[in-house]
Amino acid sequence: MTTPRRRPPLGVVVAAGVAVAFFALPLVGLVRRASWSTLADDLGSPDARSALGLSLVCSLSATALSVLFGMPLAWVLARVRFPGRAFVRGLVLLPLVLPPVVGGVALLSAFSRQGIVGGYLYDWFGIQLTFSTAGAVLAETFVALPFFVITVEAGLRSMDRRYEDVAATLGAARRVSFQRVTLPLVAPAVIAGAVLSWARALGEFGATITFAGNIVGKTQTLPLAVYLQLESNPDVAIALSLVLLVVSLTVIVSLRERWLGPS
């Protein structure tokens, strides 16, 4: 006997509809508020262009740093048993839930000229990270890195390790086995992690303005420009918001199958 398809309860459907409207309405509002006729001019204005270019440079650099340091970290967390592993994982995940402004204050306490490391950097090498583009990259990496690490670690954990074992029994060195077997198998996770961390870096606000300040052309990235131009130049702010919205949507859609499964 086949079970008949039952209609979903009305209350649940209504509540779900409210939730969808809650997400959709602000986006509709944003699209409605945009002045489409001047969009090209707004995005072409000097401040907008400098914010767009700077955001691209900073977020891509943060993504590169996340891959460079996140890959080994994800591997260690997935494959090496060591005391305090849970603690290290918690530490890595912390920026996911920490308010970004607090992250910025924490970065100041470490990397400002009065900070634990920043003082030495300045005294010995003359390097000042605060109020510099490098500082904006650092702040973005701080919030973006966890996304890469958890995605790749999950990929490494869920892959079938027998392939690695076979490679080892066939005499492949660890490095060769990683490059030829492990990496191709976790490639989707690596790509998803990189895209996610890039999107997070692109949207970073709190840590950036706290640690790197808000200098046009140097540290004023897209979200900072949106926030600070909202009063003086609302059209530019909305135009830049639309750019961020389109990018975010593209990221979600491109990763949809990975998270939500084919619909």
Binding site: F131, F211, I215, L228
Partner: protein, 281 residues
């Protein structure tokens, strides 16, 4: 008898059911809160003169300039001590931002800004119950790292003194700082200027961050105390900021809002402002 078996056989309705229960509980809690609030405020407006006239009741929301943070926090405490049936919530921010919020319909009963211009935008939108009154004045000063390691002597040194923190142009302190720099004929290279959303953020770039100097209000420098060095801006280049206060027309509680405005302009409020370093209106 068919239905129960079917229900049991369904895969894990548990967590979803629990989540719905949590949301429902939250919703009820929120409904409870808001009905309490409306009861309290409607009760107060229904019989406003049970006490001897001047005593304010109910909730008042004040949108106040960031530079008023310390003074208005004290004033709020004094006001609610004198009017135990009233409660005051203050939303601090840059006057420009607060004005934008009010024009977009954010609920506020009283606006107190650091400049007449943002108040005028609210007035032009016909949102003020009565014309704004000036309740204090303020001036700008340069603040540096403690001990002034860069040896900054005046505005002219800011062009070459490293990273300078100024308020965003939409915040009054940013507008005034630009006016002061302009009157001194000085341009700081764009790459050395970081702009804080409001005066407190601008100040903290020096106290917490690595900015070498900032232009803030005299009152903010007073609050920062030993965390900064102070270099006065000569009268010729300085700007006087006039602080207007007004009741918002759409206020739910205009009586208490007016009482708060009067308190700020009255002897108690003025004494607090004077102690914080503000000048008389």
């Amino acid at each position: 008898m068919h239905v129960p078996t079917d229900r049991r056989a369904r895969p894990s309705p548990g967590p979803a059911g629990r989540a719905v229960a949590v949301v429902a509980a939250l919703a009820f809690a929120m409904v409870g809160c808001s009905s309490d609030d409306s009861e309290a405020s409607s009760g107060s407006s229904a019989n406003p003169t049970t006490t001897t006239g001047s005593s304010a009741t109910g909730a008042v929301t004040v949108s106040a300039a960031a530079s008023l943070t310390e003074a208005f926090t004290t004033i709020k405490d004094d006001f609610t001590k004198a009017n135990p049936k009233a409660s005051v919530t203050i939303n601090f921010g840059s006057s420009g931002q607060l004005a934008t919020q009010i024009r977009s319909g954010a609920p506020a009963d009283v606006a107190a800004f650091a400049d007449q211009a943002p108040m005028a935008t609210v007035g032009d939108a016909n949102l003020l119950a009565a014309p704004a009154r000036v309740f204090a004045r303020n001036q700008l000063t340069i603040v540096t790292k403690p001990g002034n390691p860069r040896g900054i002597k005046g505005l002219a040194d800011l062009a070459t003194a490293g990273t300078i923190s100024l308020c965003a142009q939409t915040a009054p302190c940013g507008k005034f700082a630009d006016q002061a720099l302009q009157s001194a004929g000085l341009t700081i290279p764009t790459g050395s200027v970081t702009r804080g959303p409001d005066v407190k953020a601008t100040l903290s770039a020096v106290t917490e961050g690595d900015a070498d100097a900032a232009i803030v209000y005299v009152t903010d420098a007073t609050v920062a105390g030993k965390a900064v060095g102070t270099v006065a801006i000569p009268e010729a280049h300085n700007v006087v900021a006039s602080y207007p206060i007004a009741v918002i027309k759409a206020s739910d509680n205009p009586k208490a809002a007016q009482a708060f405005e009067d308190w700020v302009l009255g002897p108690e409020g003025q004494a607090v402002l004077r102690a914080a370093g503000f000048m008389a209106p």
